[in-house]
């Protein structure tokens, strides 16, 4: 690893804490998760429910002093790897067989569904959890979102029962940004110093229905580190439906 990102990382984290303490308790709570689900247990004709996890759509950005989000390759790749490893480990604890697709070996079909999931997921965030609830979906009471039955093709191709999609964005404040936020706070204005948000959904590959959905916000985990990724996976996948004979794996 290079010296610079570590330097930024450490300083930023430390200062963020200070900034929070010094400035204002603006952000709500610590970890916040919200789940919606259609099923209690996972079903499969196989011994264990088979899940394919799409390459996790995780991106890390450096939030610069002037508020520009700078994509950060090293952090992003580290976070994707750590998350995938942690997710693989987690899947055995809920009695499922999980396989993670290689991002460099995806066909048009997979890319298409990744994009569709992004669109559907962001729509769920806005219109199920967000402020603009849809009357057609019981104003946020009915959770019946779907990627459509066409996704069966994906299940047949990979011999899987469910597909797990993960979307996550993390904006790490640079040292300059944190310093600026503190300055701004001293002058009485609020300048956001970093944020994170993400969601995961589990899609039934026979129907296309989103059978489970969870979103996380600030404090969900520091995926650039292995233990942080393990924590993030636990937070993101908390309440995920398990195999019927839950926890047979160990």
């Amino acid at each position: 690893m290079q010296a610079n990102p570590i330097y930024v990382y450490r300083w930023a984290r430390w200062s963020q804490v200070t900034a929070c303490a010094m400035v204002l308790a603006l952000t709500t709570g610590c970890v916040s998760t919200r789940t919606s689900q259609q099923v209690e247990n996972l079903e499969s004709i196989a011994e264990n429910p088979r899940i394919i996890m799409m390459p996790p759509d995780i991106r890390y950005y450096l939030l610069t002093a002037g508020g520009i989000s700078e994509p950060h390759a090293e952090w992003t790749l580290a976070a994707q790897t750590n998350f995938s490893n942690a997710a693989r480990e987690f899947s055995t604890t809920i009695g499922t067989d999980m396989r993670i697709l290689d991002p460099d070996d995806t066909s048009d079909l997979e890319v298409e569904y990744e994009q569709l999931h992004s669109a559907v997921g962001l729509t769920i965030l806005d219109h199920h959890f967000g402020a603009t609830k849809l009357p057609g979906k019981g104003s946020g009471q009915v959770f019946d979102w779907s990627l459509g039955p066409g996704v069966k093709e994906l299940g047949d191709k990979h011999d899987a029962d469910y597909a797990l999609f993960v979307y996550y964005r993390d904006y790490q404040a640079s040292g300059g940004r944190v310093a600026f936020a503190i300055l701004a706070a001293a002058a009485g204005s609020y300048v956001p110093a970093g944020s994170e948000h993400g969601f995961a959904s589990l899609v039934d590959l026979r129907t296309g229905n989103v059978v489970w959905f969870n979103r996380v916000a600030d404090g969900s985990g520091e995926m650039r580190q292995e233990d942080g990724a393990t924590a993030a996976v636990k937070t993101l996948f908390s309440d995920i439906p398990t195999a019927q004979d839950n926890g047979t794996a160990e």
């Binding site: 002037g66 508020g67 700078e70």
Partner: protein, 394 residues
């Protein structure tokens, strides 16, 4: 010292800091990178490349990509010839979009819209646009622009904070001026790309005079438009305007390469491309529902020598689409002219049939419907047409 005075001092200091960061220096032209460039060991550049790689992954499966080999070979051939040693740095995506544009990323991912092919009067003009895009790449414009925006927004934020401290009112003056400054920098990059682009085009033995003809033609199209483009507001002037570009390119090219050849030779390569793919290219343009602009393009295609059967079919289409009083007759005249000349597509007969049906001339309509089915026996709407034939006969 009282607090107020203190604040003024802080704010002044911050303003000076920002002002120093705003100063810009023009650089001499030339490539800044070697062929086969890969990102340096800088976090922001690596980040940009990864972000674009992700985008490219999704672009690769876009339904809008043109996959016909003849078109792709034509376009990629031009890119390669202009790019010379840099040829292998580029991945070219021809995108179905009737707009006039092409774009380049820091990684060499190049998007070219089909609207460019429709508007060109010569392969040299297409080459001129590519030269411009390639120059953006070899001069690292994306990266420089991004870095500039970062540093300016940073100093601007500090400036704004100073102003807030000073006045007690949060005014984003600094950020606004940083954005304007960034846009000016952007326009400067565009000019740079224009001029280096011309050099690349000339070195590849394309006509450098094509570089300003592109802009003149866009201006002609604008003049012919029923609804003009809105003038860009100060916060959206990312490029110099087309008159200015045509002007300085004309000056630069004439000075560097002498006057243009008086005689224009027909461009058989472009003509073949247009003739062979005319229907989908022009249908996309027609779908923009811009009568004046589409007609201007059709007039240009007539002069270029595109098969008259094709051009007149689309003249007919523009009238049929506009459908103002008298347009039906004009459409019939244009379609009829099409059927009498080379390249007329089978649907000309069908549209003639429909128009005559509407005008109440059933026998003539049926004559054209029959001719349509003869010319296109496997027509997807055959059942519909046969229905019309029977319906009117009974």
């Amino acid at each position: 010292m009282n607090t107020g005075c203190h604040r003024v001092l802080i704010a002044t200091f911050l303003c000076i800091c920002s002002a120093v960061l705003y100063a810009a220096e023009p650089e001499p032209l030339g490539h800044l990178i070697e062929p086969g460039y890969t990102p340096e060991d800088a976090a922001d550049e690596q980040g940009l490349w990864l972000e674009i790689k992700e985008y490219e992954r999704s672009l690769n499966q876009s339904a809008l990509l043109v996959r016909q080999a003849e078109l792709r070979n034509y376009i990629e051939g031009i890119v390669c010839r202009v790019a010379a040693d840099y040829c292998n740095d580029f991945r070219v995506y021809l995108v179905r979009n009737p707009g006039f544009n092409a774009s380049m990323t820091a990684t060499g991912m190049m998007q070219i819209w089909t609207g460019l092919i429709v508007r060109a009067s010569s392969t040299d003009e297409i080459a001129a646009v590519f030269g411009h895009e390639i120059a953006h790449y070899t001069r690292l414009h994306s990266l420089q622009g991004f870095r500039r925006l970062k540093s300016q927004m940073a100093s601007a934020s500090v400036l704004d904070l100073g102003l807030t401290i000073l006045t007690g009112v949060p005014v984003p003056l600094g950020q606004a001026s940083a954005l304007l400054n960034y846009l000016a920098f952007n326009r400067q990059q565009e000019t740079e790309a224009d001029l280096l682009g011309v050099q690349l085009v000339a070195a590849a033995a394309y006509d450098p005079h094509a570089s300003y003809r592109v802009w003149n033609q866009l201006q002609q199209e604008e003049n012919a438009a029923a609804v003009k483009r809105e003038k860009a507001g100060v916060f959206s002037q990312t490029h110099p305007n087309s008159e200015a570009r045509a002007e300085y390119l004309l000056q630069y090219v004439s000075q560097e390469f002498g006057p243009a050849d008086v005689e224009q030779v027909a461009d058989q390569a472009l003509l073949n491309i247009l003739n062979n793919h005319y229907l989908f290219l022009m249908e996309d343009q027609l779908d923009t529902n811009r009568f004046g602009r589409t007609r201007e393009i059709l007039v240009r295609h007539t002069k270029l020598g595109v098969k008259p059967g094709l051009v007149n079919y689309f003249f007919g289409e523009t009238y049929r689409q506009r459908d103002e009083p008298g347009d039906r007759e004009l459409a019939i005249a244009a379609y009829t002219k099409s059927t009498e000349s080379d390249g007329s597509p089978p649907q000309t007969f069908k549209n003639l049939g429909y128009l005559h049906l509407k005008a109440g001339d059933v026998p003539l309509a049926q004559k054209y419907f029959r001719e349509y089915l003869e010319a296109q026996p496997d027509a997807s709407d055959r059942a519909m047409i046969e229905f019309y034939l029977e319906d009117q006969e009974s």
